[in-house]
Amino acid sequence: MKVDWNTFWPRILEATGQTITMVIFTLIFGAILGLVIGLLLFVTRKGNILENAFIFSLLNIAINIIRPVPFIIFLVTISPFTRAVIGTTIGTWAAIFPMTIVAAFVIARVVENNLVAVDPGIIEAAKAMGASPVQIIVGVLIMEALGPLILGLTFMTVALIDFSAMAGTVGGGGLGDLAMTYGYQRFDGSVMLVTIVVLIILVQIAQFLGNTVSRKFLRR
Protein backbone atom coordinates (compact mmCIF):
# COMPACT_ATOMS: atom_id res chain seq x y z
CA MET A 1 0.00 0.00 0.00
CA LYS A 2 1.24 3.48 -0.84
CA VAL A 3 1.54 6.12 1.84
CA ASP A 4 -0.04 9.50 1.32
CA TRP A 5 2.91 11.67 2.35
CA ASN A 6 0.73 14.79 2.45
CA THR A 7 -1.27 13.51 5.42
CA PHE A 8 1.70 11.55 6.80
CA TRP A 9 3.95 14.42 7.87
CA PRO A 10 1.29 16.20 9.96
CA ARG A 11 0.60 12.85 11.55
CA ILE A 12 4.28 12.39 12.42
CA LEU A 13 4.29 15.87 13.90
CA GLU A 14 1.20 15.14 15.99
CA ALA A 15 2.58 11.81 17.18
CA THR A 16 5.90 13.41 18.13
CA GLY A 17 3.96 16.00 20.14
CA GLN A 18 2.02 13.25 21.91
CA THR A 19 5.19 11.32 22.74
CA ILE A 20 6.89 14.43 24.11
CA THR A 21 3.77 15.32 26.14
CA MET A 22 3.57 11.85 27.66
CA VAL A 23 7.28 11.69 28.45
CA ILE A 24 7.53 15.18 29.93
CA PHE A 25 4.44 14.96 32.16
CA THR A 26 5.35 11.46 33.28
CA LEU A 27 8.85 12.67 34.04
CA ILE A 28 7.61 15.60 36.13
CA PHE A 29 5.08 13.61 38.18
CA GLY A 30 7.28 10.52 38.30
CA ALA A 31 10.32 12.49 39.46
CA ILE A 32 8.42 14.23 42.28
CA LEU A 33 6.80 11.00 43.45
CA GLY A 34 9.99 9.00 42.90
CA LEU A 35 12.07 11.49 44.88
CA VAL A 36 9.67 11.24 47.82
CA ILE A 37 9.55 7.43 47.74
CA GLY A 38 13.31 7.19 47.19
CA LEU A 39 14.01 9.53 50.10
CA LEU A 40 11.62 7.59 52.33
CA LEU A 41 13.33 4.39 51.30
CA PHE A 42 16.74 5.86 52.09
CA VAL A 43 15.98 7.44 55.45
CA THR A 44 14.06 4.40 56.74
CA ARG A 45 16.97 2.12 55.83
CA LYS A 46 18.68 0.23 58.65
CA GLY A 47 20.98 2.51 60.61
CA ASN A 48 19.74 5.67 58.94
CA ILE A 49 18.28 8.89 60.33
CA LEU A 50 14.64 7.72 60.45
CA GLU A 51 15.17 3.97 60.54
CA ASN A 52 11.84 2.15 60.16
CA ALA A 53 11.85 -1.49 59.11
CA PHE A 54 8.12 -1.57 58.32
CA ILE A 55 8.01 1.37 55.91
CA PHE A 56 11.27 0.32 54.32
CA SER A 57 10.17 -3.24 53.54
CA LEU A 58 6.74 -2.05 52.37
CA LEU A 59 8.28 0.30 49.79
CA ASN A 60 11.00 -2.13 48.92
CA ILE A 61 8.52 -4.89 48.17
CA ALA A 62 6.26 -2.51 46.21
CA ILE A 63 9.18 -1.57 43.97
CA ASN A 64 10.15 -5.17 43.47
CA ILE A 65 6.58 -6.06 42.50
CA ILE A 66 6.07 -3.25 40.02
CA ARG A 67 9.45 -3.22 38.29
CA PRO A 68 9.54 -6.74 36.80
CA VAL A 69 5.98 -6.59 35.37
CA PRO A 70 6.11 -5.91 31.60
CA PHE A 71 4.74 -2.41 31.05
CA ILE A 72 2.02 -3.46 28.61
CA ILE A 73 0.64 -5.94 31.18
CA PHE A 74 0.87 -3.33 33.93
CA LEU A 75 -0.99 -0.85 31.74
CA VAL A 76 -3.93 -3.22 31.42
CA THR A 77 -3.83 -4.48 35.01
CA ILE A 78 -4.19 -1.09 36.64
CA SER A 79 -6.80 0.23 34.20
CA PRO A 80 -9.49 0.24 36.94
CA PHE A 81 -7.29 2.62 38.95
CA THR A 82 -6.62 4.67 35.85
CA ARG A 83 -10.38 5.08 35.37
CA ALA A 84 -10.83 6.03 39.03
CA VAL A 85 -8.09 8.66 38.95
CA ILE A 86 -8.20 10.05 35.37
CA GLY A 87 -11.86 9.30 34.63
CA THR A 88 -11.12 7.32 31.49
CA THR A 89 -8.89 4.50 30.26
CA ILE A 90 -8.51 5.95 26.79
CA GLY A 91 -6.22 8.72 25.59
CA THR A 92 -2.90 10.38 26.34
CA TRP A 93 -3.65 11.04 30.02
CA ALA A 94 -4.79 7.46 30.50
CA ALA A 95 -1.30 6.48 29.35
CA ILE A 96 0.46 9.08 31.50
CA PHE A 97 -1.06 7.68 34.72
CA PRO A 98 0.38 4.12 34.54
CA MET A 99 3.62 5.48 33.11
CA THR A 100 3.94 7.81 36.10
CA ILE A 101 3.43 4.96 38.56
CA VAL A 102 6.11 2.81 36.99
CA ALA A 103 8.46 5.76 36.53
CA ALA A 104 8.02 6.80 40.17
CA PHE A 105 9.08 3.40 41.48
CA VAL A 106 12.00 3.09 39.11
CA ILE A 107 13.14 6.63 39.95
CA ALA A 108 12.70 5.81 43.66
CA ARG A 109 15.28 3.05 43.26
CA VAL A 110 17.59 5.34 41.32
CA VAL A 111 17.28 7.98 44.06
CA GLU A 112 17.91 5.45 46.83
CA ASN A 113 20.96 3.98 45.08
CA ASN A 114 22.51 7.38 44.52
CA LEU A 115 21.86 8.55 48.07
CA VAL A 116 23.41 5.38 49.48
CA ALA A 117 26.49 6.20 47.43
CA VAL A 118 26.96 9.56 49.21
CA ASP A 119 29.95 9.31 51.57
CA PRO A 120 28.57 8.74 55.11
CA GLY A 121 31.44 10.87 56.40
CA ILE A 122 29.96 13.92 54.66
CA ILE A 123 26.61 13.27 56.37
CA GLU A 124 28.44 12.89 59.68
CA ALA A 125 30.20 16.22 59.10
CA ALA A 126 26.85 17.95 58.49
CA LYS A 127 25.43 16.34 61.63
CA ALA A 128 28.42 17.51 63.64
CA MET A 129 27.69 21.06 62.44
CA GLY A 130 24.23 20.86 63.95
CA ALA A 131 22.22 20.26 60.77
CA SER A 132 18.73 18.83 61.27
CA PRO A 133 17.57 15.71 59.38
CA VAL A 134 15.62 17.86 56.88
CA GLN A 135 18.61 20.17 56.37
CA ILE A 136 20.83 17.14 55.80
CA ILE A 137 18.44 15.63 53.24
CA VAL A 138 17.89 18.83 51.25
CA GLY A 139 21.18 20.66 51.67
CA VAL A 140 23.62 17.78 51.73
CA LEU A 141 22.27 14.45 50.48
CA ILE A 142 20.42 15.67 47.41
CA MET A 143 23.06 18.28 46.61
CA GLU A 144 25.84 15.71 46.79
CA ALA A 145 23.96 13.18 44.67
CA LEU A 146 22.61 15.68 42.12
CA GLY A 147 24.99 14.80 39.28
CA PRO A 148 24.27 11.06 39.25
CA LEU A 149 20.57 11.75 39.99
CA ILE A 150 20.27 13.79 36.80
CA LEU A 151 21.98 11.01 34.86
CA GLY A 152 19.48 8.58 36.40
CA LEU A 153 16.59 10.78 35.31
CA THR A 154 18.06 10.94 31.81
CA PHE A 155 18.17 7.16 31.73
CA MET A 156 14.54 7.15 32.86
CA THR A 157 13.58 9.62 30.11
CA VAL A 158 14.95 7.31 27.45
CA ALA A 159 13.09 4.38 29.01
CA LEU A 160 9.90 6.47 29.01
CA ILE A 161 10.20 7.16 25.28
CA ASP A 162 10.24 3.38 24.96
CA PHE A 163 7.26 2.93 27.34
CA SER A 164 5.25 5.51 25.43
CA ALA A 165 5.21 3.20 22.43
CA MET A 166 2.84 0.96 24.40
CA ALA A 167 0.49 3.88 25.01
CA GLY A 168 -1.06 3.21 21.63
CA THR A 169 -2.88 0.23 23.07
CA VAL A 170 -4.95 2.58 25.24
CA GLY A 171 -5.32 5.18 22.49
CA GLY A 172 -2.61 7.39 23.85
CA GLY A 173 -1.12 7.97 20.43
CA GLY A 174 2.51 8.82 19.98
CA LEU A 175 5.32 7.73 17.69
CA GLY A 176 5.32 4.12 18.85
CA ASP A 177 1.64 3.84 18.03
CA LEU A 178 2.24 5.33 14.59
CA ALA A 179 5.01 2.88 13.89
CA MET A 180 2.83 -0.02 14.99
CA THR A 181 -0.35 0.84 13.08
CA TYR A 182 1.11 2.29 9.89
CA GLY A 183 4.47 0.62 9.76
CA TYR A 184 4.06 -2.82 11.30
CA GLN A 185 0.42 -3.68 10.72
CA ARG A 186 0.34 -2.22 7.17
CA PHE A 187 3.81 -3.49 6.27
CA ASP A 188 5.12 -0.06 5.37
CA GLY A 189 8.83 0.04 5.98
CA SER A 190 9.24 3.71 5.13
CA VAL A 191 6.85 4.84 7.89
CA MET A 192 8.64 2.64 10.37
CA LEU A 193 11.96 4.09 9.30
CA VAL A 194 10.81 7.69 9.71
CA THR A 195 9.39 7.07 13.21
CA ILE A 196 12.52 5.24 14.24
CA VAL A 197 14.67 8.15 13.07
CA VAL A 198 12.49 10.62 15.00
CA LEU A 199 12.71 8.43 18.13
CA ILE A 200 16.47 8.22 17.81
CA ILE A 201 16.69 12.01 17.50
CA LEU A 202 14.51 12.42 20.63
CA VAL A 203 16.69 10.01 22.61
CA GLN A 204 19.85 11.79 21.45
CA ILE A 205 18.48 15.17 22.53
CA ALA A 206 17.40 13.80 25.93
CA GLN A 207 20.80 12.20 26.54
CA PHE A 208 22.66 15.31 25.41
CA LEU A 209 20.64 17.55 27.73
CA GLY A 210 21.06 15.13 30.63
CA ASN A 211 24.81 14.86 30.15
CA THR A 212 25.23 18.60 29.87
CA VAL A 213 23.23 19.41 32.98
CA SER A 214 24.72 16.62 35.10
CA ARG A 215 28.25 17.70 34.21
CA LYS A 216 27.56 20.99 35.98
CA PHE A 217 26.88 19.08 39.19
CA LEU A 218 29.28 16.15 38.99
CA ARG A 219 32.00 17.04 41.47
CA ARG A 220 34.30 14.35 42.62
Partner: protein
Protein backbone atom coordinates in the same frame (compact mmCIF):
# COMPACT_ATOMS: atom_id res chain seq x y z
CA UNK B 1 35.62 21.86 79.58
CA UNK B 2 35.11 18.25 78.51
CA UNK B 3 34.63 15.58 81.12
CA UNK B 4 34.13 11.86 80.63
CA UNK B 5 32.74 10.28 83.78
CA UNK B 6 32.91 6.46 83.77
CA UNK B 7 31.78 6.41 80.17
CA UNK B 8 31.20 3.14 78.35
CA UNK B 9 29.97 2.48 74.84
CA UNK B 10 28.97 -1.00 73.80
CA UNK B 11 28.20 -1.99 70.23
CA UNK B 12 26.28 -5.08 69.29
CA UNK B 13 27.91 -6.75 66.35
CA UNK B 14 26.60 -10.15 65.28
CA UNK B 15 24.94 -10.66 68.66
CA UNK B 16 28.27 -10.08 70.37
CA UNK B 17 28.77 -7.10 72.62
CA UNK B 18 31.91 -5.12 71.87
CA UNK B 19 33.11 -2.62 74.46
CA UNK B 20 34.43 0.12 72.20
CA UNK B 21 34.85 2.45 75.15
CA UNK B 22 35.18 0.80 78.54
CA UNK B 23 34.70 2.84 81.69
CA UNK B 24 36.73 5.87 80.66
CA UNK B 25 37.11 8.88 82.92
CA UNK B 26 39.03 11.85 81.57
CA UNK B 27 38.99 15.57 82.07
CA UNK B 28 40.12 18.02 79.40
CA UNK B 29 40.83 21.52 80.67
CA UNK B 30 39.93 24.75 78.93
CA UNK B 31 42.56 25.93 76.48
CA UNK B 32 44.68 22.82 76.33
CA UNK B 33 45.51 20.51 73.46
CA UNK B 34 44.68 17.01 74.58
CA UNK B 35 45.70 13.98 72.57
CA UNK B 36 44.35 10.46 72.72
CA UNK B 37 46.61 7.87 71.12
CA UNK B 38 45.92 4.26 70.37
CA UNK B 39 46.09 1.65 67.65
CA UNK B 40 43.11 1.28 65.35
CA UNK B 41 40.26 -0.41 67.18
CA UNK B 42 41.36 0.98 70.54
CA UNK B 43 38.12 2.94 70.83
CA UNK B 44 39.52 6.45 70.46
CA UNK B 45 37.34 7.32 67.48
CA UNK B 46 34.21 6.31 69.39
CA UNK B 47 35.41 8.26 72.42
CA UNK B 48 35.78 11.39 70.27
CA UNK B 49 32.25 11.00 68.86
CA UNK B 50 30.79 10.88 72.36
CA UNK B 51 31.73 14.54 72.81
CA UNK B 52 29.26 15.83 70.21
CA UNK B 53 26.98 12.85 70.64
CA UNK B 54 27.50 11.38 67.19
CA UNK B 55 27.64 8.29 69.40
CA UNK B 56 25.50 7.96 72.50
CA UNK B 57 27.20 6.46 75.55
CA UNK B 58 25.78 3.21 76.89
CA UNK B 59 26.54 4.33 80.42
CA UNK B 60 28.26 7.15 82.23
CA UNK B 61 28.18 10.90 81.63
CA UNK B 62 29.84 13.19 79.12
CA UNK B 63 29.92 16.79 80.32
CA UNK B 64 30.74 19.59 77.87
CA UNK B 65 30.85 23.21 79.08
CA UNK B 66 29.28 22.09 82.37
CA UNK B 67 26.33 20.47 80.57
CA UNK B 68 25.57 16.77 80.56
CA UNK B 69 25.25 16.15 76.83
CA UNK B 70 23.80 12.67 77.23
CA UNK B 71 20.42 13.96 78.33
CA UNK B 72 20.15 16.99 76.07
CA UNK B 73 17.07 17.44 73.81
CA UNK B 74 17.79 17.24 70.07
CA UNK B 75 17.16 20.95 69.33
CA UNK B 76 19.60 22.03 72.03
CA UNK B 77 22.02 19.35 70.91
CA UNK B 78 22.17 20.99 67.49
CA UNK B 79 22.91 24.32 69.19
CA UNK B 80 25.65 22.67 71.24
CA UNK B 81 27.19 21.09 68.15
CA UNK B 82 27.77 24.59 66.75
CA UNK B 83 30.03 25.17 69.76
CA UNK B 84 32.09 22.10 68.86
CA UNK B 85 33.98 22.12 65.57
CA UNK B 86 35.04 18.81 64.08
CA UNK B 87 37.62 17.85 61.45
CA UNK B 88 38.17 14.45 59.88
CA UNK B 89 40.85 12.18 58.47
CA UNK B 90 39.15 12.14 55.05
CA UNK B 91 38.18 15.82 55.33
CA UNK B 92 34.50 15.13 54.50
CA UNK B 93 34.06 18.33 52.51
CA UNK B 94 30.89 18.87 50.50
CA UNK B 95 31.99 18.03 46.96
CA UNK B 96 29.01 19.87 45.51
CA UNK B 97 29.99 23.16 47.14
CA UNK B 98 32.91 25.48 46.53
CA UNK B 99 35.46 26.23 49.22
CA UNK B 100 33.39 29.32 50.02
CA UNK B 101 30.19 27.25 50.12
CA UNK B 102 31.76 24.69 52.45
CA UNK B 103 32.87 27.28 54.98
CA UNK B 104 29.60 29.21 54.68
CA UNK B 105 27.41 26.15 55.24
CA UNK B 106 27.58 25.98 59.07
CA UNK B 107 26.95 29.74 59.15
CA UNK B 108 23.86 29.31 56.97
CA UNK B 109 22.65 26.63 59.37
CA UNK B 110 23.07 29.15 62.18
CA UNK B 111 21.00 31.66 60.14
CA UNK B 112 23.73 34.30 60.01
CA UNK B 113 22.94 37.20 57.60
CA UNK B 114 24.61 36.93 54.21
CA UNK B 115 26.95 39.92 54.48
CA UNK B 116 28.23 38.68 57.83
CA UNK B 117 28.81 35.23 56.33
CA UNK B 118 30.84 36.85 53.57
CA UNK B 119 33.04 38.72 56.01
CA UNK B 120 33.51 35.70 58.26
CA UNK B 121 34.44 33.36 55.40
CA UNK B 122 36.97 35.89 54.09
CA UNK B 123 38.50 36.15 57.56
CA UNK B 124 38.74 32.34 57.90
CA UNK B 125 40.17 31.90 54.42
CA UNK B 126 42.95 34.30 55.24
CA UNK B 127 43.55 32.56 58.59
CA UNK B 128 44.11 29.21 56.84
CA UNK B 129 45.94 30.84 53.93
CA UNK B 130 43.53 29.99 51.11
CA UNK B 131 42.29 33.46 50.08
CA UNK B 132 42.65 32.61 46.40
CA UNK B 133 40.75 29.32 46.52
CA UNK B 134 37.27 30.54 47.47
CA UNK B 135 35.65 29.61 44.17
CA UNK B 136 37.36 26.27 43.69
CA UNK B 137 35.74 22.92 44.34
CA UNK B 138 37.28 20.39 46.77
CA UNK B 139 38.25 18.09 43.87
CA UNK B 140 40.64 20.82 42.71
CA UNK B 141 42.51 20.98 46.03
CA UNK B 142 45.42 19.00 47.48
CA UNK B 143 45.00 17.01 50.70
CA UNK B 144 46.57 19.70 52.85
CA UNK B 145 44.40 22.39 51.28
CA UNK B 146 41.30 20.25 51.85
CA UNK B 147 42.16 19.93 55.53
CA UNK B 148 42.65 23.70 55.74
CA UNK B 149 39.16 24.13 54.35
CA UNK B 150 37.97 21.54 56.88
CA UNK B 151 39.56 23.55 59.69
CA UNK B 152 38.10 26.85 58.41
CA UNK B 153 34.66 25.21 58.17
CA UNK B 154 34.97 23.80 61.69
CA UNK B 155 35.93 27.23 63.04
CA UNK B 156 33.18 29.11 61.18
CA UNK B 157 30.72 29.27 64.08
CA UNK B 158 33.50 30.30 66.53
CA UNK B 159 33.39 27.12 68.60
CA UNK B 160 35.02 26.72 72.04
CA UNK B 161 36.16 23.21 71.26
CA UNK B 162 37.72 21.61 68.20
CA UNK B 163 37.72 17.83 67.94
CA UNK B 164 40.07 16.22 65.44
CA UNK B 165 39.56 12.70 64.14
CA UNK B 166 42.96 11.56 62.83
CA UNK B 167 43.20 14.93 61.11
CA UNK B 168 46.68 14.37 59.69
CA UNK B 169 46.68 10.62 59.08
CA UNK B 170 45.90 10.97 55.38
CA UNK B 171 48.60 13.59 54.78
CA UNK B 172 52.28 13.37 53.89
CA UNK B 173 54.82 14.27 56.63
CA UNK B 174 55.46 17.82 55.40
CA UNK B 175 51.77 18.67 55.07
CA UNK B 176 51.16 17.04 58.46
CA UNK B 177 53.65 19.47 59.97
CA UNK B 178 51.87 22.44 58.39
CA UNK B 179 48.44 21.30 59.58
CA UNK B 180 49.78 20.70 63.10
CA UNK B 181 51.22 24.21 63.13
CA UNK B 182 47.86 25.54 62.02
CA UNK B 183 46.10 23.63 64.83
CA UNK B 184 48.57 25.09 67.31
CA UNK B 185 47.67 28.57 66.01
CA UNK B 186 43.96 27.75 66.34
CA UNK B 187 44.63 26.89 69.97
CA UNK B 188 46.75 29.96 70.67
CA UNK B 189 45.00 32.69 68.67
CA UNK B 190 41.39 31.65 69.13
CA UNK B 191 41.87 30.06 72.57
CA UNK B 192 40.08 26.95 71.38
CA UNK B 193 40.38 23.75 73.39
CA UNK B 194 41.49 20.91 71.12
CA UNK B 195 40.80 17.22 71.65
CA UNK B 196 42.49 15.08 69.03
CA UNK B 197 42.88 11.40 68.41
CA UNK B 198 45.75 9.88 66.49
CA UNK B 199 47.85 6.77 66.09
CA UNK B 200 50.97 8.83 65.44
CA UNK B 201 53.13 9.64 68.44
CA UNK B 202 54.84 12.54 66.67
CA UNK B 203 51.47 14.34 66.55
CA UNK B 204 51.27 14.04 70.32
CA UNK B 205 54.88 15.14 70.72
CA UNK B 206 54.49 18.13 68.38
CA UNK B 207 51.44 19.87 69.77
CA UNK B 208 49.78 18.16 72.74
CA UNK B 209 49.95 19.28 76.34
CA UNK B 210 48.49 16.10 77.77
CA UNK B 211 47.98 12.64 76.41
CA UNK B 212 45.93 9.55 77.14
CA UNK B 213 46.93 6.15 75.81
CA UNK B 214 44.02 3.90 74.91
CA UNK B 215 43.97 0.16 74.47
CA UNK B 216 40.94 -2.14 74.15
CA UNK B 217 38.56 0.67 75.01
CA UNK B 218 40.39 1.66 78.18
CA UNK B 219 42.70 4.50 79.07
CA UNK B 220 45.81 2.69 80.25
CA UNK B 221 47.98 5.72 80.90
CA UNK B 222 47.39 9.44 81.10
CA UNK B 223 49.32 12.58 81.95
CA UNK B 224 51.53 15.45 80.79
CA UNK B 225 53.19 14.59 77.50
CA UNK B 226 56.65 15.21 78.98
CA UNK B 227 56.05 12.88 81.92
CA UNK B 228 54.65 10.14 79.73
CA UNK B 229 57.63 10.37 77.39
CA UNK B 230 60.12 10.53 80.22
CA UNK B 231 58.63 7.77 82.27
CA UNK B 232 56.20 5.51 80.44
CA UNK B 233 54.56 2.83 82.57
CA UNK B 234 52.95 0.53 80.04
CA UNK B 235 54.43 -1.49 77.21
CA UNK B 236 52.01 -0.04 74.62
CA UNK B 237 53.08 3.45 75.63
CA UNK B 238 56.73 2.51 75.32
CA UNK B 239 56.07 1.15 71.85
CA UNK B 240 54.45 4.40 70.79
CA UNK B 241 57.33 6.40 72.21
CA UNK B 242 59.98 4.30 70.54
CA UNK B 243 58.19 4.91 67.23
CA UNK B 244 59.33 8.54 67.39
CA UNK B 245 62.29 8.28 69.71
CA UNK B 246 64.90 6.14 68.17
CA UNK B 247 66.83 5.28 71.33
CA UNK B 248 66.06 1.61 71.78
CA UNK B 249 68.68 -0.88 70.77
CA UNK B 250 67.65 -3.72 68.56
CA UNK B 251 69.23 -7.10 69.42
CA UNK B 252 71.19 -6.94 66.19
CA UNK B 253 72.57 -3.47 66.81
CA UNK B 254 73.50 -4.35 70.37
CA UNK B 255 75.44 -7.34 69.14
CA UNK B 256 77.31 -5.18 66.64
CA UNK B 257 78.04 -2.54 69.28
CA UNK B 258 79.28 -5.13 71.75
CA UNK B 259 81.64 -6.49 69.14
CA UNK B 260 83.29 -3.14 68.51
CA UNK B 261 83.00 -1.81 72.08
CA UNK B 262 84.50 -4.17 74.59
CA UNK B 263 83.88 -1.90 77.57
CA UNK B 264 80.82 -1.73 79.77
CA UNK B 265 77.73 -0.11 78.33
CA UNK B 266 75.40 2.10 80.33
CA UNK B 267 72.20 3.84 79.35
CA UNK B 268 71.99 7.34 80.78
CA UNK B 269 68.68 9.16 80.69
CA UNK B 270 68.53 12.95 81.13
CA UNK B 271 65.31 14.79 81.86
CA UNK B 272 64.52 18.46 81.99
CA UNK B 273 67.09 20.40 84.08
CA UNK B 274 69.66 17.60 84.06
CA UNK B 275 70.29 18.19 80.37
CA UNK B 276 71.68 21.67 80.89
CA UNK B 277 74.46 20.57 83.27
CA UNK B 278 77.61 18.87 81.95
CA UNK B 279 77.03 16.09 84.48
CA UNK B 280 78.56 13.28 82.47
CA UNK B 281 81.84 14.99 81.69
CA UNK B 282 82.15 16.57 85.17
CA UNK B 283 81.73 13.23 86.88
CA UNK B 284 84.02 11.41 84.49
CA UNK B 285 86.74 14.03 84.95
CA UNK B 286 86.43 13.79 88.72
CA UNK B 287 87.21 10.07 88.54
CA UNK B 288 89.71 10.59 85.76
CA UNK B 289 87.80 8.23 83.50
CA UNK B 290 87.31 8.14 79.75
CA UNK B 291 83.94 7.57 78.19
CA UNK B 292 82.61 7.09 74.73
CA UNK B 293 79.10 8.01 73.63
CA UNK B 294 78.14 5.33 71.16
CA UNK B 295 74.42 5.82 70.66
CA UNK B 296 71.65 8.18 71.69
CA UNK B 297 69.26 11.01 71.07
CA UNK B 298 68.17 14.27 72.61
CA UNK B 299 64.66 15.53 71.96
CA UNK B 300 62.74 18.62 72.80
CA UNK B 301 59.41 18.01 74.46
CA UNK B 302 57.14 20.87 75.45
CA UNK B 303 60.10 23.19 75.75
CA UNK B 304 62.09 20.74 77.90
CA UNK B 305 64.98 18.61 76.77
CA UNK B 306 64.88 14.90 77.06
CA UNK B 307 67.88 12.77 76.24
CA UNK B 308 68.93 9.18 76.32
CA UNK B 309 72.51 8.08 75.65
CA UNK B 310 74.36 4.83 75.60
CA UNK B 311 77.84 5.36 76.97
CA UNK B 312 80.81 3.02 77.04
CA UNK B 313 83.31 3.02 79.90
CA UNK B 314 86.47 1.01 79.26
CA UNK B 315 86.74 -2.21 81.28
CA UNK B 316 89.96 -0.99 82.94
CA UNK B 317 88.34 2.16 84.37
CA UNK B 318 89.36 2.35 88.04
CA UNK B 319 86.66 3.30 90.49
CA UNK B 320 83.88 2.54 87.99
CA UNK B 321 81.43 1.62 90.73
CA UNK B 322 81.65 4.94 92.64
CA UNK B 323 81.53 6.85 89.34
CA UNK B 324 78.29 5.15 88.33
CA UNK B 325 76.93 5.65 91.81
CA UNK B 326 77.61 9.37 91.70
CA UNK B 327 76.13 9.69 88.21
CA UNK B 328 72.97 7.99 89.32
CA UNK B 329 72.48 10.69 91.97
CA UNK B 330 71.67 13.11 89.17
CA UNK B 331 70.45 11.11 86.21
CA UNK B 332 68.96 7.72 85.54
CA UNK B 333 71.68 5.13 84.83
CA UNK B 334 71.41 1.46 84.11
CA UNK B 335 73.80 -1.02 82.65
CA UNK B 336 72.98 -2.38 79.23
CA UNK B 337 73.50 -6.13 79.39
CA UNK B 338 70.85 -7.62 77.18
CA UNK B 339 68.87 -6.12 74.38
CA UNK B 340 66.08 -3.84 75.53
CA UNK B 341 62.49 -4.22 74.46
Amino acid sequence: MIKFESVSKTFLSQKKAVNAVDNVSLSIAKGEIYGVIGFSGAGKSTLLRLVNLLEKPTSGRVVVNDRDVTSIPSRELRQLRRRIGMIFQTFNLFNSRTVYGNIAYPLKLARIPKDQIKARVAELLSFVGLEDKADQYPEQLSGGQKQRVGIARALATSPDILICDEATSALDPETTGEILKLLKRVNEEYKITILLITHEMHVIRSICDRVAVMENGRVIEEGQVFDIFANPQKQTTRNFISSVQNDKLSPKLLETLKKSHKGRLYRIVFRGGATSEPILSQTARKYNADFNIIYGSINELQGQLFGSLIVEFPERTPQLEPLIHELSQNVEVREVIDHES
